[in-house]
C-alpha cells in the first residue's frame, strides 16, 4: 500500500514538475535557411520545417489561430500560411523590407515596420489593402501595441526614438528619445508600462505610456562579460507583471528582472547571440532564439532554469507561439 501511494505521489509530482497540461506549437523563423521550424511544447522537439520566403524575421499568428504570418524581408512581402495545412495562401502588400509587425488586439489591422523606407505600413487583413502609411524615424523595427489598441509604438534604430502613433488618426502624438539603437517595444499586459530595449546603449527603458516619459532605465552587469557585449533586443513580461525577461544578444544570456523592484535577479545562460523571446500562453515556458548557435533555449519560468536547447535551422530569429 505504501509503495503504491508513493508511486502515485511521485507520479503526480513528476506531472506537476513539467507543469504543462496542453501542447502548444512554437514557430521559429530561421533567417538564413529561409524556413520556419515548428516545435511541440510537450515533446520539446522540432515536428516540422516549413519553407518560406527570403530572410524571414517577424512571425505571428492571427488572433483566430487560422493563419501564420511571416515577414519575408528580402522578398519585400508578408506571407500568409494556413496554420493547419501549412500551405501558402497569399502575400500581403507589405511595402519593402518588412522586418517586424504586430496585430491590433482585435486581430485587424496589421502594423508593419518597413526598415528601408522609414515607414510603418498599416494593412487591413480582410480587405487585403494598405490603409495607411506613417513616416517614422530611420530604420523602424520594434512594434508594440497598447492592450486597448489605442496606441501603437514603433522604435527607429538610427533615430533612437520610440514613436507613439494614434491608431485612429495614424498621427505620431509623441516621440521618446531612448538610448542608442532601440530594437524592441512591448507593453505590459496591464498597459501601465512600455518596455524599450536599446541594443548599443545596453539598457532597458521603462516608459510611462501616459506621461510618455522614461521612468526607469535598467542596466546590466554580468561578471566576466564585457559591457559592450550586453546588447538587449527582445523583451517580454509575464502577464501578472512579476517578471520581465530581456534577451541580451552576444552576452548569451537572458536577464530576469523582478517586476516589482525592477532589480535584475538572475542571468540565464542560453545559446549564442540570443535575439527574441516568446511565452507559452500560460506563461510557464519561455522560448529564446539563439542566432549564432542555431538553437532555441527553453526556459522554465517558475524555476528560472534553462531546461533544454533545441537545434533548429540557421540563424533563428523570430518566435511566436500558438494560443492552443
Amino acid at each position: 500500500m505504501k509503495m503504491l501511494v508513493s508511486a502515485v505521489i511521485s507520479g503526480s509530482l513528476l506531472f506537476s514538475t513539467i507543469g504543462i497540461a496542453k501542447a502548444y506549437t512554437v514557430y521559429v523563423t530561421n533567417e538564413k535557411d529561409n524556413t520556419v521550424s515548428l516545435i511541440d511544447t510537450d515533446t520539446l522537439e522540432v515536428t516540422a520545417t516549413l519553407n518560406v520566403g527570403q530572410r524571414p524575421r517577424g512571425i505571428t499568428l492571427t488572433l483566430d489561430g487560422k493563419f501564420l504570418l511571416v515577414c519575408a524581408s528580402d522578398d519585400d512581402t508578408v506571407e500568409v500560411y494556413d496554420a493547419k495545412t501549412r500551405q501558402l495562401v497569399k502575400n500581403l502588400p507589405s511595402g519593402p523590407d518588412p522586418e517586424l509587425f504586430i496585430l491590433h488586439p482585435t486581430g485587424n489591422p496589421l502594423y508593419i515596420a518597413n526598415e528601408d523606407d522609414n515607414l510603418v505600413t498599416v494593412i487591413d487583413l480582410e480587405k487585403n489593402k494598405v490603409i495607411a502609411e506613417v513616416p517614422v524615424g530611420v530604420e523602424p523595427e520594434g512594434m508594440g501595441i497598447s492592450p486597448d489598441g489605442a496606441i501603437l509604438v514603433n522604435t527607429s534604430e538610427t533615430t533612437n526614438m520610440a514613436h507613439f502613433i494614434d491608431t485612429e488618426t495614424y498621427e505620431i502624438v509623441a516621440n521618446v528619445l531612448v538610448d542608442s539603437r532601440p530594437r524592441f517595444a512591448e507593453f505590459s499586459a496591464d498597459g501601465a508600462r512600455l518596455f524599450v530595449t536599446s541594443e548599443i546603449g545596453g539598457t532597458l527603458s521603462i516608459i510611462d505610456p501616459v506621461t510618455r516619459k522614461i521612468t526607469n532605465k535598467i542596466t546590466f552587469e554580468i561578471p566576466g562579460v564585457r559591457p559592450e557585449a550586453i546588447q538587449p533586443v527582445g523583451v517580454r513580461a509575464t502577464k501578472d507583471g512579476s517578471k520581465i525577461f530581456v534577451a541580451l544578444g552576444p552576452a548569451n544570456r537572458v536577464a530576469v528582472i523582478n517586476g516589482k523592484t525592477l532589480e535584475v535577479e538572475k542571468y540565464l545562460l542560453v545559446g549564442q547571440r540570443v535575439w527574441q523571446l516568446a511565452f507559452t500562453p500560460d506563461d510557464k515556458l519561455l522560448f529564446a532564439t539563439n542566432g549564432v548557435s542555431n538553437d532555441v533555449s527553453v526556459i522554465d519560468v517558475d524555476r528560472l532554469k534553462v531546461v533544454k536547447s533545441i537545434a533548429v535551422g540557421r540563424f533563428p530569429w523570430g518566435v511566436t507561439i500558438s494560443a492552443d
Partner: protein, 413 residues
C-alpha cells in the same frame, strides 16, 4: 584646376543633378543640401538650423591603371549627404534641420582661405579630408573660433600624438590602428613571419613604420624588407620582377604598404613562394568595406547603394560618422547651439552607433574615435579586429592604436 563637384540640389526623396560650375579666383564650389521630406514638422515652432561643412583637398589621386574601380567624383561627399538625410529624418521630430556645405579644392588652392570663408559664413562643424600639415594649419587658425573639426582623411599617427589638437576629433583609424588590427589577426593565425614591401611614397614609409611597431607589439617578426622602386606601372613587368623581388626569405605572409595603389595588386600569385598578401592590398584593414553587412550594416549599405548607385567606401563612412555625431549631439541636448553640441560630443555620455557591433566612443586623451576595424579581401569580409584573446583593462578597442599610458599627446591650453 577646378574642383569637380557640380551644384546639386536635394529635394524630398532624391537628389536632382543640375549642371553649373562656379569659377572664380579661388575656384570654390559651394553645395548646400537641405532635405525636407514633404511632411510638416511636429510643431509650428521655429526650425533650428545646424550647419555642417565638408572640406576636401585631395593632393594625389590613384594612378589610372585600370578602369576596374573608377573613383567617384562624390566620394566622401555622398557619405555626408546620406548622413544629413538621416539626421533630417530625426530632425523632423526635433524641429531641427541639418545642412551640409561641400567644398572640393584643387591641390594648388588655398585650403586655409576656404576654411575661413566657411567659418565666416557661420558654420561651426567642419569635416576635413586634407593632408596632415594642412589640417594642422586649419586647426591652429580655428583655435580662437567656435569651430569643431573632424579629421576624416589623414591617417597620420603624429596627429594623434605630438601634433594632436584639442579642436580636432579623429574619425578615421590611424595607421597604427590599422596595422595593429591586421597584426592581431596574422598572429592569431600563427602567421608571424612577415615579408614587408614598402612603396615609394612618404605615406607608404609611415605605413611600414606602423607595421614594424605592430610586429613588435604583438610578437611577429619582419624577416625581410624591400622597397618597391620599379616605377609607376607594374602591370606588364610584374610577372618577371616580383618573383626575383620576393626571393630569398622564409616568411608566412607578405605585407605590402602601397597606399596609392601603384603596384600592390600585382604581387599576388607572382611571389617566389606561394604566400598570401596583406596590408594596403590583399587582406586589408579598413574602417569600412562594401563586403560588410553584419550588425545592421546591410541597412546602411543598401540605403547608400539605392541613393548613389555605388558602394559606400571607407571615405564615405568617415564623412558619414561625424555628421551622425553632430546629429546625436543635437538630438540628445535638444539644441542647435555649438557649445552644447561640442560639449556633448566630447563628454563621456557620447556614443555613436556605427554599425560595427558595439558603440563607438572617443579616446579622451587624443580624441581618436575608437572602433572595430574590418579586415576584408576584395569580395569577402574575412574578420573584424580586435581579435579574441588580446586583453585590455578598459576597452578591447584600445588594443589597437596608441594607448593612453604611451600617449605623447598634450593638449595645450
Amino acid at each position: 584646376m577646378v574642383g569637380t563637384w557640380k551644384t546639386v540640389n536635394c529635394v524630398i526623396k532624391g537628389c536632382i543633378r543640375s549642371s553649373g560650375l562656379r569659377h572664380g579666383p579661388i575656384a570654390l564650389l559651394f553645395l548646400s543640401f537641405t532635405v525636407w521630406f514633404g511632411h510638416a514638422p511636429v510643431s509650428s515652432a521655429e526650425i533650428v538650423k545646424i550647419r555642417i561643412a565638408y572640406l576636401a583637398q585631395v593632393v594625389e589621386r590613384p594612378p589610372k591603371l585600370s578602369n576596374l574601380d573608377i573613383p567617384s567624383d562624390d566620394e566622401g561627399l555622398a557619405g555626408g549627404q546620406l548622413s544629413i538625410k538621416d539626421n533630417n529624418t530625426t530632425g523632423r521630430f526635433m524641429n531641427q534641420a541639418f545642412e551640409l556645405t561641400g567644398v572640393s579644392l584643387a591641390p594648388d588652392e588655398d585650403a586655409l582661405a576656404a576654411f575661413n570663408t566657411l567659418v565666416d559664413q557661420g558654420i561651426h562643424f567642419v569635416i576635413l579630408n586634407v593632408p596632415a600639415d594642412t589640417l594642422l594649419a586649419i586647426a591652429d587658425a580655428a583655435r580662437p573660433r567656435d569651430v569643431l573639426l573632424f579629421n576624416a582623411g589623414a591617417a597620420d599617427d603624429r596627429l594623434r600624438e605630438q601634433d594632436c589638437r584639442d579642436n580636432v576629433l579623429h574619425i578615421l583609424p590611424s595607421r597604427a590602428m590599422l596595422a595593429d588590427a591586421l597584426a592581431q589577426y596574422l598572429v592569431t593565425k600563427k602567421w608571424r613571419k612577415w615579408f614587408l614591401v614598402i612603396g615609394r611614397r612618404q605615406g607608404d614609409k609611415l605605413y611600414g613604420d606602423a607595421i614594424h611597431r605592430a610586429a613588435k607589439k604583438f610578437g611577429a617578426k619582419i624577416v625581410a624588407e624591400r622597397v618597391w622602386d620599379y616605377g609607376p606601372d607594374a602591370r606588364r613587368t610584374a610577372q618577371s620582377e616580383v618573383p626575383v623581388f620576393t626571393q630569398g626569405a622564409d616568411y608566412d605572409i607578405l605585407v605590402v604598404a602601397d597606399e596609392i595603389g601603384e603596384f600592390g595588386e600585382y604581387l599576388a600569385y607572382r611571389t617566389w613562394s606561394a604566400r598570401p598578401i596583406a596590408g594596403t592590398q590583399g587582406l586589408t584593414p579598413t574602417s569600412w568595406h562594401r563586403t560588410h553587412e553584419r550588425w545592421g550594416a546591410a541597412q546602411l549599405q543598401s540605403r547608400f547603394l539605392k541613393t548613389f548607385k555605388r558602394h559606400m567606401t571607407p571615405l564615405d563612412y568617415q564623412v558619414w560618422a561625424p555628421i551622425r555625431a553632430v546629429g546625436e549631439g543635437a538630438t540628445r541636448t535638444n539644441s542647435g547651439e555649438f557649445a552644447k553640441i561640442r560639449d556633448y560630443i566630447k563628454s563621456s555620455d557620447f556614443e555613436l552607433a556605427g554599425f560595427k557591433g558595439q558603440k563607438l566612443t572617443l579616446r579622451s586623451w587624443n580624441w581618436q574615435l575608437r572602433q572595430p576595424i574590418l579586415l576584408s579581401a576584395a569580395r569577402a569580409l574575412v574578420s573584424v579586429s580586435p581579435q579574441t584573446g588580446f586583453l585590455h583593462r578598459t576597452s578591447l578597442l584600445d588594443t589597437m592604436g596608441t594607448d593612453q599610458p604611451q600617449s605623447r599627446c598634450k593638449f595645450d591650453g
